[in-house]
């Protein structure tokens, strides 16, 4: 039992347990169709949560990811939409739009990174402010309207394309965190920025890079969400922030920094998506769903933190 509690796979095990508990109560849950839905639901959330994990590891937080998703969505739609997009009708529309969306994500991430390192204000405040700026800008750009008529080539990304993107992102992120020097620097910065600075870790550059990665992956997630809904929307992803943080925290990423893994985050995303899906399928009243979700997430986070504290395992 002790071994299970310390195991990195605690959350994945919890998710499996949840699944087994719900399976008899919900006839449709174990069907191939539902499992497939579950997987597709997970993928964009996993991409943006992995980005957020990078920032959380440095001890910061990026509240603006949802606004970045919205602004990137609108940016891409403005480039490629068939009615009045900049590249309307051209074969290059979809690839150019995707490039624009990712570039927008990188630029917005850089803004966050520079603001946090240069202004010396808590990341919470900085990214709260940028969230309002980016979100407001997206709404202003489109005058609150959605942009549809996206090229079919782009919309088709919502199938296998999404899986490919998610897999590539997960593998690259995992390699970076576990093997790359940048990964070591991220964890060091999160655990003790002063000691890291003395030891020659480029703390400012690492922090900026973390926010840039978060922005880039939010842009990538935006591509996936936009393709799924076939619409560029200035309010896309508005409500997912709590899911992002819940998934990260349940997956073992500490809000204080210095801890977090891609595998853990994926387990957390699985857990949150599964929970959402199960509660949905149970047909509970809306308010009950929110309450149950909150309670379960809280319990899972507490369990994870207690297990680690009791066992005093070394991190990373």
């Amino acid at each position: 039992m002790r071994g299970l509690l310390t195991s990195r796979y605690l959350v994945a095990a919890l998710a499996a347990a949840c699944f087994l508990v719900f399976a008899p109560l919900i006839p449709g849950i174990a069907t191939a169709g539902n499992l497939s839905n579950l997987l597709w639901n997970m993928l964009p959330l996993a991409v943006v949560t992995i980005g957020e994990t990078f920032v959380l590891i440095t001890g910061g937080i990026d509240l603006s990811v949802t606004a970045i998703i919205a602004l990137c969505s609108v940016t891409g739609a403005l480039v490629m939409n068939g009615r009045n997009g900049y590249l309307a009708g051209s074969a290059a529309a979809a690839p150019a739009a995707i490039f624009a969306m990712l570039l927008a994500g990188v630029l917005l991430g850089l803004v966050n990174g520079f603001a946090v390192t240069r202004l010396g204000m808590p990341p919470f405040i900085v990214t709260l402010t940028t969230m309002m700026f980016f979100g407001g800008f997206a709404v202003w750009l489109t005058r609150s309207a959605n942009i549809d008529a996206l090229p079919p080539a782009f919309n088709r990304l919502s199938g296998v394309g999404t899986l490919a993107v998610a897999v590539v992102v997960a593998l690259a992120a995992d390699w970076t965190l576990r093997r790359g020097i940048f990964g070591r620097w991220l964890y060091a910065t999160g655990m003790n920025p002063r000691a890291s600075l003395v030891a020659g870790v480029p703390v400012h550059a690492v922090t900026i890079a973390a926010y840039t990665v978060s922005g880039l992956l939010a842009g990538a997630a935006s591509v996936l969400y936009t393709a799924r809904l076939e619409t560029g929307s200035p309010v896309l992803g508005q409500r997912i922030f709590l899911d992002v943080i819940a998934a990260a925290v349940i997956g073992g990423t500490s809000l204080f920094g210095g801890r977090g893994t891609v595998a853990g985050t994926l387990a957390g995303v699985l857990f949150v998506a599964l929970l959402d899906n199960s509660l949905n399928l149970l047909g509970l009243s809306f308010f009950l769903v929110l309450t149950v979700k909150g309670a379960v997430i809280l319990a899972a986070a507490l369990l994870d933190s207690a297990a680690r504290r009791v066992l005093g395992e070394a991190v990373e």
Binding site: A195, G200, E316
Partner: protein
Amino acid sequence: MTPLLLLDGISKSFSGVPVLREVSLTASRSEVLGIAGENGAGKSTLMNILGGVIAPDAGNMVLEDRVYLPRDPSEASARGVAFVHQELNLFPNLSIAENLFLTDFPRRRVLGLPLIDRRSAAQAARRLLDAVELPLSPDTPVERLSQGERQLVEVAKALDRDARIVIFDEPTTSLAARESARLFAIIERLQARGAAVIYISHALADVRRLSSRILILRDGEAAATGPAEEFTEERMISCMVGRAIGQLYPARRPLPPDSQPLLEARGLAHPGILENAGFTLHSGEVLGIAGLMGSGRSELARILFGLDPCERGQILLSGLPIQHLSSRERIRLGLAFLTENRRDDGLLMPASVLANLALVDPRSSRLEPVAARVGVRCANLDRQPVRQLSGGNQQKVALGKWLVSQPRVFLLDEPTRGIDVGARAEIYRIVAALAAAGVGILMISSEIEELTGMCDRILVMRRGEISASIARPDFDREQILRVAL
């Protein structure tokens, strides 16, 4: 005369591991009982039992002829046991007066409502501060005080309680010589007042000087006890360690005359911090820096390393000017810096030994050899968090991470602060070996013995200036102190 405090057969275990085994001691009025022991010998546990933080598993305690078994620290305090802890219990955001009277402010009633009587609080605080000779306003926020000044506030807190027994736990680790002298005078005054003083410290010379009687703890047992006259420092060390440790400071050959200058500072000046500081450090030399707190030693080290800017002056590494380089670039050129406070900026506490050793040079494959070379003792190099290690082992890790990249110049700021004698000896050995290999070492320390034991030359800093440079043949403890003042 019956002793004021009597402990008889105190035992304590944690999770089945015995930490104290039937320890007995007595403390009498107007006497100082000195307690020495390595980390892990059980000193903290014993003091926690005395202070009411934990309860013993077996044994009795008698204070002033009454049974003494405090359930919590406030009960201990009420019985007249006062504690001045090593880890200070002050709130930096509050003022001195607020810290002193946090749990019992003098009050007055206005319209029936109890309000804090700030004036009498200030007066009472003033009186206590005078008793410890700290000439600061009671309204000064504690965060503005130096470590030494904060300790004096802690002592004042203890005095306020009109304590019967005052326990000092490692009180001089952060005090410079002058502040230590003040502290000793206070202890003498406490003795005169009839209090019993228990003095726990790694500074064995101080323990010998102050104590009437000495108790040595080793592995949870009372290894030796008796009047202070019966203890030499060597005997104390061998009782603490359980074996003869021989020389604390390794023998060193004098510096060859053709030693190359390695690090040169010329005319370094920065308003309020340094004033025309200059020196030359040679290859293979151990250069000490003595001085009081606030004389600018740590600031000089930070400027040499590149963490802080310097308005004027030059720094040359083997003739190459480096004052415009970032600290990262200086590390690449071979500089290393062991900071004053390993907890704050020397270690990643939640990470493992190997992760910490890899902090400066992540690509190195020499981590495990370095761990062996510095002699880190821990359960698991890869999975145990450094937080769980003793102070001495932590310091070895903090030092070891620099050795991975084979530095040419090593700046050490208080390298043996708060660590036990066994680990200290090992660190001195490492430093001597580095010097023998040609590394230039700059050692900042508040312990004159350490400097005279290890260094080829000692610089004395005073108010941001280097006021003297004393060569080995001329080492004299009193003289160095005088210059520092």
